[in-house]
């Protein structure tokens, strides 16, 4: 075998074994577990906007956001500043006059997946979610919870 072939074989073995090692060693992180139930395509919340204030459960960073529902789709104004998630389908179920909703949004340009699960009682929203980034070499997750309402905040600037 020529030297070039030997070098190529070593390189391929190193890269291949490295990739396999990454797959085995890289701890998997699950997205937010959304309760099962009788979910159906969302429309109950169409036309609503919720102004929420939440917190990163690990770092304590305060998160402000506006969640918009229209035509069976959902968008986080804050997330939109980091990636063009666009409008994503949302699902709802009604349990004892409480609206439960969930949505999964994916960034088309980077490996970010955000899973949302919330409940709406009258105009009050309770929310939980995970922002998970799955790079080839690691997984990183931000867990957050928030609450809000349809009433805009006094300070109209929505920042993250």
């Amino acid at each position: 075998m020529s030297q070039i072939l030997q070098v190529a074989a070593i390189a391929m073995a190193t890269v291949g074994t490295g990739a396999a090692t990454m797959t085995v060693m890289k701890p998997e992180i699950a997205d937010l577990a959304v309760p099962e139930g009788d979910w159906s395509a969302g429309e109950i919340l169409d036309g609503q906007s919720y102004f929420i204030e939440g917190v990163d459960l690990d770092s304590g960073t305060v998160l402000l956001d506006e969640l918009v529902f229209r035509d069976g789709t959902f968008q986080s104004v804050n997330c939109q500043t980091y990636c063009d998630f666009g409008w994503s389908d949302y699902q709802t179920k009604l349990v004892d006059d409480v609206i439960h909703f969930t949505a999964t949004t994916r960034c088309p340009d980077a490996p970010h997946t955000v899973v949302w699960y919330g409940t709406v009682t009258e105009d009050q929203m309770q929310l939980a979610g995970t922002w998970t980034t799955r790079r080839w070499y690691w997984n990183h997750q931000i867990r957050f919870s928030a609450e809000g309402s349809t009433t805009p905040p006094i300070d109209p600037n929505v920042t993250g």
């Binding site: 074989a9 070593i10 073995a13 090692t21 701890p27 960073t61 790079r135 690691w138 990183h140």
Partner: protein, 219 residues
């Protein structure tokens, strides 16, 4: 003055200097981590990703060079990014060691010496030049510089274990560091690529595995 007392004093002084260096290095890493405020947010994740990729490439390249303390980059990345980065550091370390071995094994020794001189790495070039006229066994014996004949004989017999120990020995930068050791191992021609790969895969695993699975904190 008693010569044995002088050497003991020298040893103690060197040991204290090493401890001081480690304390200062740990303090420096802590300061850098605080200054960077490395909380990964959606807003900075892309920048962090680019930094990690650049750091990994630099780490592989530098660690493969003789006498370059590239391992510190890996330790700094582990300290800055935590256990999540351990698999990447581990794979990059193995890749770097195999790169150095492959360069030593397949690059003509004259070309390698000229390349290192081009990089103004005179010590590394001298290491290669010193190894050039030696036989494969004698090149391995270089790695066991200062050891008794018996130690060299055992080193040759159990050369893969010797290689693993040499790569992991603190202060091995005196004989070329991980990159230099692997380059000379390649130059010696007495190490098979497959067994070298397995040896290195095991030899460099303790720190990343401890960080990943035992929660070792490097800060």
């Amino acid at each position: 003055m008693n010569p044995s007392r002088t050497s003991t004093t020298k040893f103690v002084v060197r040991f204290l200097i090493l401890i001081a260096f480690l304390v200062l290095a740990a303090w420096g890493v802590h300061l850098i981590k605080d200054a960077l405020n490395l909380e990964i947010r959606p807003g900075n994740e892309a920048m962090v990703h680019r930094s990690i990729m650049l750091g990994a490439v630099a780490y592989i390249g530098l660690l493969a060079l003789p006498f370059v303390p590239g391992a510190e980059i890996g330790i700094a990345m582990l300290a800055a990014f935590g256990p999540g980065i351990a698999p990447l550091i581990y794979v990059a370390t193995v890749a770097s060691m195999m790169l150095a071995y492959t360069i030593g094994r397949f690059l003509p020794i004259g070309a390698l010496e000229r390349f290192l001189n081009l990089l103004h790495m005179q010590r590394a070039a001298a290491l290669v030049a010193r190894a050039a006229p030696l036989s494969g066994d004698d090149r391995l014996a270089m790695l066991l510089d200062g050891q008794s004949k018996r130690a060299v004989h055992i080193g040759l017999k159990y050369r893969y274990i010797a290689l693993a120990i040499a790569v992991n020995t603190p202060g091995n930068s005196i004989i070329g560091g991980g990159g230099g050791i692997m380059m000379v191992a390649g130059l010696s021609g007495i190490f098979s690529p497959v067994l070298v790969f397995l040896t290195i895969a095991i030899a460099v695993s303790p720190v990343p595995l401890a960080v990943l699975f035992l929660g070792l904190q490097l800060q």
